[in-house]
């Protein structure tokens, strides 16, 4: 069964739609509705003129929404350029240095000095002379895994080239690590070794020194030859019959000294020959975060750095979301509560004939 109020509401809705009244009260209500509908108040002329004079606000060419994407992207790119420029500055210099790696030569032999700007890729001139090579290579790799791989590759390369490892020291500490290798490579494979070891990472420093030892070897050979002749002459003198005992003893002692000196010089020559036969490589590998691949352009570096910055920003945003989510829920609850209070306040405000306090109400 419907309540009187419900019936009332339905009838009033009907009267508003034009349904004929069924009782005297409904006829009275219909009269009220008709009279109220006859209200024909018009907005005063000045209000109408004011509204007509309103001009639409100047439409912005682009709204604020594209800025939500463009501004962070531009900031990330700018940060990438700054960070990339700072990080890749010395590295780039090193790379360009790699391209223009000079061969430092000792002052002893000006013929071994390569011209400035000679690169690793350029063939080192073969002189046919005995030269002692010392090469230092400082390389940067991306992370510890790359460090381990590059170290293993360097050792493997050395063995493939017929050389050997003098010492190897690899150490890691958290995300960073370092490997120091001392390698010996046959002199005839120096060019191959330089080229292949340089590809194991980004070159951050390098030094190649070449010392000519041919003069030393020539001097030693000449001295050895002289001593051998002396030894042969002494042997011949000792073989002559009729030598007095003191004379024989004197020749014997002299031959022993010559033999001793000969042995010493021969060992010295062997040592020099060994030194020139193998070039020494001191390879230092170190991890470097966000190290760019060799040969990447500045724009690539900037894009890479920008992506890195965006990744960090995304991680920070995720972290903040997790942290701020409960706070956001509280804020939403407060907002809803405030809205409910405001609605109640509105109802209270309108629940009087004149919404603002009148003189009589004070």
């Amino acid at each position: 069964m419907r309540s009187p109020d419900e019936t009332d509401v339905e009838r009033i809705e009907g009267l508003l739609r034009g349904v004929p009244p069924e009782s005297a009260r409904e006829a009275h209500l219909e009269g009220l509705i008709r009279e109220l509908r006859s209200v024909s108040a018009h907005a005063p002329r000045d209000v109408r003129e004011h509204v007509r004079s309103l001009e639409p606000p100047r439409r912005r060419q682009f709204g604020w929404k594209p800025a939500l994407v463009l501004v962070p992207a531009a900031l990330a790119l700018a940060a990438g350029i700054v960070v990339g420029g700072r990080d890749s500055g010395p590295q780039r210099e090193a790379n360009s240095g790699a391209a223009a790696l000079t061969l430092e030569s000792s002052a002893q032999d000006s013929r071994a000095a390569a011209p400035q700007g000679q690169s690793f890729a350029a063939p080192v001139e073969k002189t046919g002379r005995a030269q002692e090579w010392d090469v230092r290579l400082d390389l940067a790799v991306r992370d510890n895994r790359a460090l381990s791989d590059a170290s293993a590759e360097a050792i493997s390369l050395t063995r493939e080239l017929g050389g050997f490892v003098v010492s190897s020291n690899i150490a890691t500490d958290g995300p960073s690590g370092r490997a120091d290798l001392v390698l010996r490579v046959p002199e005839r494979r120096v060019q191959d070794a330089i080229a292949q070891l340089s590809e194991l990472g980004t070159i951050t420093g390098q030094q190649v020194s070449v010392q000519d030892r041919q003069g030393d070897l020539d001097r030693l050979a000449k001295r050895i030859d002289t001593l051998r002749i002396q030894r042969a002459e002494l042997n011949a003198q000792l073989a002559q019959p009729g030598l007095s005992e003191p004379e024989r003893l004197r020749l014997e002692l002299r031959r022993q000294r010559v033999q001793g000196l000969l042995n010493q010089l021969t060992r010295q020559r062997s040592s020099v020959s060994a030194e020139v036969a193998f070039a020494e490589f001191r390879v230092s590998l170190a991890t470097k975060r966000a190290a760019a691949a060799p040969g990447g352009g500045r724009f690539d570096d900037a894009i890479g750095s920008a992506l890195g910055v965006l990744a960090v920003a995304a991680a920070a945003a995720l972290f903040l979301t997790i942290v701020l989510l409960p706070l956001a829920a509280i804020a939403a609850a407060l907002l809803l509560g405030r809205r409910a209070l405001r609605r109640r306040d509105d109802e209270r405000l309108l629940d009087r004939p004149r919404p603002t306090p009148s003189a009589g109400e004070r």
Binding site: V9, H28, L32, L36, S38, S40, H42, V47, P56, P355
Partner: protein, 173 residues
């Protein structure tokens, strides 16, 4: 999305046309709500200024222009009432009470009906303005008031009953 918006823009009336069509209705609504012609004038101007600023957000598929404008007018009026309430509370400590201005024949109705209307609360007058004077349907009026459709109908029935009672009381007096 862009095409949809463009199509919507094609069917969209201009603000000037909407203002011209709805100005009197918005004014009537504010006049009945405030029962103060001067205030209704001010609030009407403020309403259309506000409406112009948010015109780009108006979606014709969601509400009739007059309902959309009445919602803005209601919000403008409530903001004004709140501000006035605070101001008068401050002033009442320092200023002498000023006699309340009384307006008669605001709406061009019979004196009895005008008197009975003046005794109704603003909330009652508001629902009468929307449903009867402006002839908005229950759905649109409920959206303006921020209540359900049945609550809106119930509020209208109550307002009409009060109006009848006031008129009957005035007749007896």
């Amino acid at each position: 999305m862009t095409r949809l918006r463009r199509r919507r823009d094609v069917n969209r009336p201009t603000f000037a046309a909407v203002a011209e069509d709805c100005l009197d209705e918005v004014y009537r609504y504010l006049l009945v709500l405030t029962a103060d012609p001067a205030l209704a004038d001010d609030l009407t101007g403020a309403t259309f200024e506000k409406a112009l600023r948010s015109w780009r957000r108006y979606d014709p598929t969601r509400a009739e222009p007059v309902a959309w404008l009445c919602a803005i007018a209601r919000s403008t009026a409530l903001d004004h009432f709140r501000t006035e309430k605070r101001r008068k509370r401050r002033e009442e400590r320092y200023a002498a009470d000023q006699p309340e201005s009384t307006h008669t024949h605001l709406l061009g109705l019979s004196p009895e009906l005008e008197a009975a209307m003046a005794e109704l609360t603003a909330a009652d007058r508001e629902v009468l303005a929307l449903r009867v004077v402006l002839e908005l349907d229950a759905e649109a009026a409920a959206r303006v008031l921020g209540v359900s459709r049945s609550a809106c109908s119930m509020r209208l029935a109550r307002a009409l009953r009060k109006l009848e009672e006031r008129m009957a009381a005035d007749a007896l007096a």
